[in-house]
Amino acid sequence: MIKSLKASGNKLAMIENQLKVLAGEPFKTELPTFVDKLKPINQFPLKPNKLEIFQINLGYMCNQVCKHCHVDAGPDRKEIMTKDHLERCIEILKANNIPTVDLTGGAPEMNPLFRWFVEELTNIGVQEIIVRSNLTIIRANKKHYDLPEFFKKHNVHVVSSLPYYQAGKTDAQRGDGVFAKSIKALQSLNDVGYGIEGSDLILDLVYNPTGAFLPGDQMELEAEFKKNLKNDFDIDFHALFAITNIPISRFLDYLVASDNYEEYMEKLVMAFNPAAVDGVMCKNTISVDWDGYMYDCDFNQQLDMKVADKSTQHINDFNIEKLAARTILINQHCYGCTAGAGSSCQGTVA
């Protein structure tokens, strides 16, 4: 298993080095910056709409080390959200009418307080609980085998990554053996009713391109995934979210190491879609890190770009009015969310 950038001492583990890459060519001379693109369409400064999704990163620990991971997650990452921060999140959700809680990581299930936290979210009546499950965690250890039943009990909306419907491409991105374990996990979710047409137990899949190219049409990809997963493994799921790989962290490392960086950024810029800007997720989401700091999105979290208003950067200082008035921080990585049909944690946006 490969190591995280942090554990392997990769220079891109230092956020300032990622920001240096994003500030360099091709944006110095050839391509317009993201600000240059937003100004003519009157979207600069970028401002939020109503807060609808409270995305909480429960920790960077993961049982997988995916090559494209923007979190640089892995078994060697020890950052994990503690009970006091989780309790504070509950207080915030109780006091504010935020309909959706989106739990991510790492593998959020690896936080020892994960089940307790989901139960608390249920108790306070959160409308929708999303868990971003990497699937293999369900098969990684006997103690996780009953996760499908647990998800069902709490009507969790399960969103799981599967970059392809065959082993080769999936394992190339996510590690050897991941595809086989993912298939078993999907079947166990289907067994309790997840992903079945007409079922209230929602199982959606996330597709990330397995290389330096942009995702194609979401509906077309979904149809291919549905046909092949049904034929080959009798697997059902609801929707496929086609998500663009964002040029930060391990995907940035891959782009630079494979000499694809400048060409990839050019593809993102050429595919800039003004209509996608209105739907970018930073407009309706707040991302919380394991240490309680808040960001405009999970990508800004990984670049340590905390929300702009310094008086409400930590959950202990959460102020929904101030957050609503903030300016969203942007950089060249934001082109990833506005290319083509746009991209968000819920798939395309335009």
């Binding site: 392809y164 065959q166 080769g168 391109p209 290389g211 942009l214 194609g216 049409d217 077309e220 050429m270």
Partner: protein, 111 residues
Amino acid sequence: MEKSYYNPKDLKKFGEIADFEPKLAEKFFDYYGEVFKEGALTAREKSLIALAVSHSEQCPYCIDAYTEDALKRGINEAQMMEAVHVAAAIKGGATLVHSVQMMNKVKKQSM
């Protein structure tokens, strides 16, 4: 004069053919766009046909463009290569079937 006949960056300048003759370029690009829309064939099927023809036409720009298009559509390596084999089989067959003409002439002119 360029040092090479092919430059990958020229693909992005394809639209500039309109600089020299706009009306015909417009008609061509409109036609091109219509051809690749979903129709009796899916856009996915058309993309694979285009990939195969790109090879038989030996057009590096087209191979670049339709390999990328295939990747975006989630078309896998085996599917792409099978499409190229179809082009290769037709190309090979087209060469070989002409050998009948050679054989006819040989037979006619030989004792």
